[in-house]
Symmetry: C2
Subunit: 496 residues, 2 copies
């Protein structure tokens, strides 16, 4: 079973994350706190860090507790006359990191005369409702839901409108990527009086029970590898059995440890996790398959899958040669900087809480069914087993998922009565399988970005950007200007 273990949405959850399954994702989120090479320091310095007192429970009156939500503001290009506010609906991580990785907002601020606001999601970064106890148990985690996060955004927006002179009468646009994009779309759906529209980039709002086939995600990953090099996906597909064959003896396990340059010796029990860790690497490469050097999750070369696939041209070699190739491929992802002495499949990153939060969310509301057939994709087959998933969640968090709740709450595919949402998706991005990739109405618009990975459009302009993403960004700005214009027209009408 080579399913990735726990992907955040930027690396979303396939399994609820028992301690073993958690490890790879923890390692990955650990890097979220590294400074990003692609961030633009001149811009990055240019925001204020502020805090807003939020109720821990917006939906009840028994608990009077509050906590401080962090948010960032930049008003460098903001104009009180005819301006706007772009409001980033923060997702499962440190808001500074999202701020630094959403260059699009910085790039369009001047054109839209926009104030930029980045609101941190509760239970992530510094916005911890119960401080160090926030992840202690299901009682403390009870207020980690998308509904509470949207209510935080609504209260924060009211606060900004009330306290920033000139902001009260301005159109606000929600912007988000990945889970943040889902929140941006849902915020426009549930609080249309707060925002005139939403840009939901790479937002898999349909990656839920019964809405898309559970294998769509892994198929897209596979397609990316198929396109990026001859026999590349085939090599990976064959690698699972090769690993299995080496796993049967002590000699084989020792050889594997050495061939993959692992930091710790493998035991037979580690093998499922090893395959999860490798699978997750391929998934992450698909998400981060950007056309230029980047450092979103890991330092990576331009078009990293192409680089990886240069090592995976020969599926029909011996098991040992094949796995030596796999190591070279993994090494592109884990050691592009050349600093790593060995690859660590069990590294943990306790300094980051983000992964804990997402693991809980995946076990409650954000129940995303994944599977692989091993036929239409390059992964070892695995089924979506809700029962097992639910049991693992119960063991880990003492809660059970409600897999249909998100669809009950946000409408699933039946969202045509809403308006002013742009859904953008890159065709390389495995999350596009759960995204809105066709127009739903004249004001619920889908933009597909050829050769685009995970929310490429939200990243800063880059000389290596394909024409498709430039077109997408320009369309996005066109829609945003339309919403802003409509707001001012009806505002003028109200005043006359």
């Amino acid at each position: 079973m080579g399913r990735p273990a726990l992907l955040l949405l930027l690396l979303a959850a396939l399994v609820p994350g028992n301690s073993v399954a958690l490890r790879p994702a923890l390692r990955i989120l650990g890097s979220l706190h590294l400074p990003s090479r692609t961030s633009r320091p001149a811009v990055v310095q240019n925001y204020s860090v502020l805090y807003f007192q939020q109720k821990v429970d917006h939906f009840g009156f028994y608990n009077p507790k509050t906590f401080k939500q962090r948010y960032l503001i930049s008003d460098k290009h903001w104009k009180k006359e005819g301006g706007s506010i772009l409001f980033y609906t923060g997702n499962e991580g440190d808001i500074v990191w999202f701020c630094n990785n959403t260059g699009f907002m910085w790039d369009v601020a001047e054109e839209l005369k926009a104030m930029l606001v980045f609101a941190e999601h509760r239970y992530y970064g510094e916005s911890l409702p119960f401080g160090a106890h926030s992840f202690k148990d299901s009682r403390h985690l009870n207020f980690l839901t998308s509904e509470q996060a949207l209510a935080d955004f609504a209260e924060l927006i009211k606060h900004l409108k009330r306290t920033i002179p000139g902001a009260g009468d301005q159109p606000i646009i929600a912007v988000g990527g990945s889970y943040g994009g889902m929140l941006a779309a849902w915020f426009r759906m549930k609080y249309p009086h707060m925002v005139v529209g939403a840009l939901a980039a790479s937002a898999p709002i349909w990656q839920f029970e019964g809405l898309v086939p559970c294998d769509v995600f892994m198929k897209i990953v596979t397609t990316d590898f198929r396109k990026s090099g001859p026999s590349c996906a085939e090599s990976i597909q064959r690698s699972w059995d090769a690993i299995n064959r080496f796993s049967t003896t002590g000699t084989g396990l020792r050889w594997l440890t050495q061939a993959l340059h692992l930091c710790s010796p493998l035991t037979l029990d580690d093998i499922p996790h090893l395959k999860e860790w490798i699978s997750e690497t391929w998934v992450n490469l698909a998400m981060m398959d950007y056309p230029y050097k980047s450092n979103f999750m890991q330092p990576l070369p331009a078009w990293p899958i192409k680089v990886v696939c240069q090592y995976l041209k020969n599926p029909n070699v011996s098991d040992s040669l094949l796995l030596q190739d796999i190591f070279q491929a993994l090494n592109v992802y884990y050691n592009y900087s050349g600093q790593a002495k060995c690859l660590n499949i069990s590294e943990t990153a306790t300094s980051s809480l983000g992964i804990l939060g997402w693991s809980y969310q995946a076990c409650t509301e954000m129940v995303m069914p994944f599977c692989a057939s091993g036929i239409d994709d390059m992964f070892e087959p695995f089924l979506w087993d809700l029962k097992q998933f639910s049991d693992e969640c119960f063991n880990k968090w003492g809660v059970r998922p409600r897999p249909s709740w998100i669809t009950t709450l946000y409408g699933g595919k039946n969202i045509s009565s809403h308006s002013n949402i742009v859904f953008s998706n890159g065709d390389l991005d495995p999350w596009s399988g759960g995204g809105v990739t066709k127009d739903i109405s004249a004001t619920l618009v889908a933009i597909t970005i050829a050769d685009g990975a995970h929310h490429l459009d939200l990243r800063a302009n880059n000389v290596y950007d394909p024409a498709s993403v430039l077109r997408a960004r320009s369309l996005e700005v066109k829609h945003m200007k339309q919403w802003i214009g409509d707001f001012y027209v009806s505002d003028a009408r109200r005043q006359h």
Copy 2:
């Protein structure tokens, strides 16, 4: 201070209901359980009583408790081909009583080939999340919110669609009156994927902080009395001082007790409550000023305010004559049946929990500011004092109101992006002051019913109905047919 004490929405809350202030409203809700004279027994028998297991907390995963929500179904006129479902979003009381007092739904069922569903609101009637402990303290009451009630409706609808063959593909329309009308409108706003439209009858969705003047309600009550008899409002206006003058001596209090035929002797401390009780009577008469004999809250004659005003033609008489007239007027409301031996201003009705629930809701989300100037209205002046209100709430329930939350959540006046809601209001109804009485868009439509009291349009057809309410009902049906038709057109499009 002659402000009414605690009105449900069908008698909404002016003050949070300390034990004294609660009394009159308790008395009134006590009568909710009497069989209604205007109910139509042949129809009333014709429904099934069912129960659906609901989560106590839809918005968290810590509390695994469930409770049984009661709902009523009638499918006598339902057609699987081209039919529809009318879904009554139950408000602050026993659902059977609402079912029996919403004759409109029964009257239009055949024309719309409609199944009728009446869903009880949690914490009312039999739908008590913690049984007898439901009102014990703020911990048990924590799940009494409009959001939880809407989520109950959503889960129930999903259940009906899943379990009733043929219901899955049918358009559903939310229908409600008063607070139930607010819920119907909000349900369409928050769950537009669940219902194709909503009929929100006499729904004061704007009776909240900063949206309408706090004295609008009492002004409309006063206008009703002014219109119904010469000097009628003036007589009432003068009565407060007359009561005050009698209250200063023991002899005066004894005389008052006798003149008003009260069951218990008045003390000086009772006087504020006496005036609240009288004020509330005038308010209730305004709400129930129907053109025919009715028994909604109390047995009443046709056009009861006209009857009341026959006793209140002479404001410029002595205090004692004026208060004897006031007694005759009160007697119309409290003793139309002729059974009462005395009038009881401190009757309690512990058998009904509805009033407790609404008192809590008024202290948390449903914070409706009321006031009277005593100049533009016939009441003793009273101010809206949020601080005092909040303190009273804290003393009673251990919670403090969040007066702006409803507007944050549901949008206040900024709701134009929604669609398919009919807001109907009778111009006699004091709640129309907080209602939507002008079209907001082509699909957010206001219908005003001349000579209409509180949701007259939802009541059964009656030969004494004014032409205005016949027109209103026919317009409402026209809109409902439009929504149903649109649903089937786009449904057909989806299938081809």
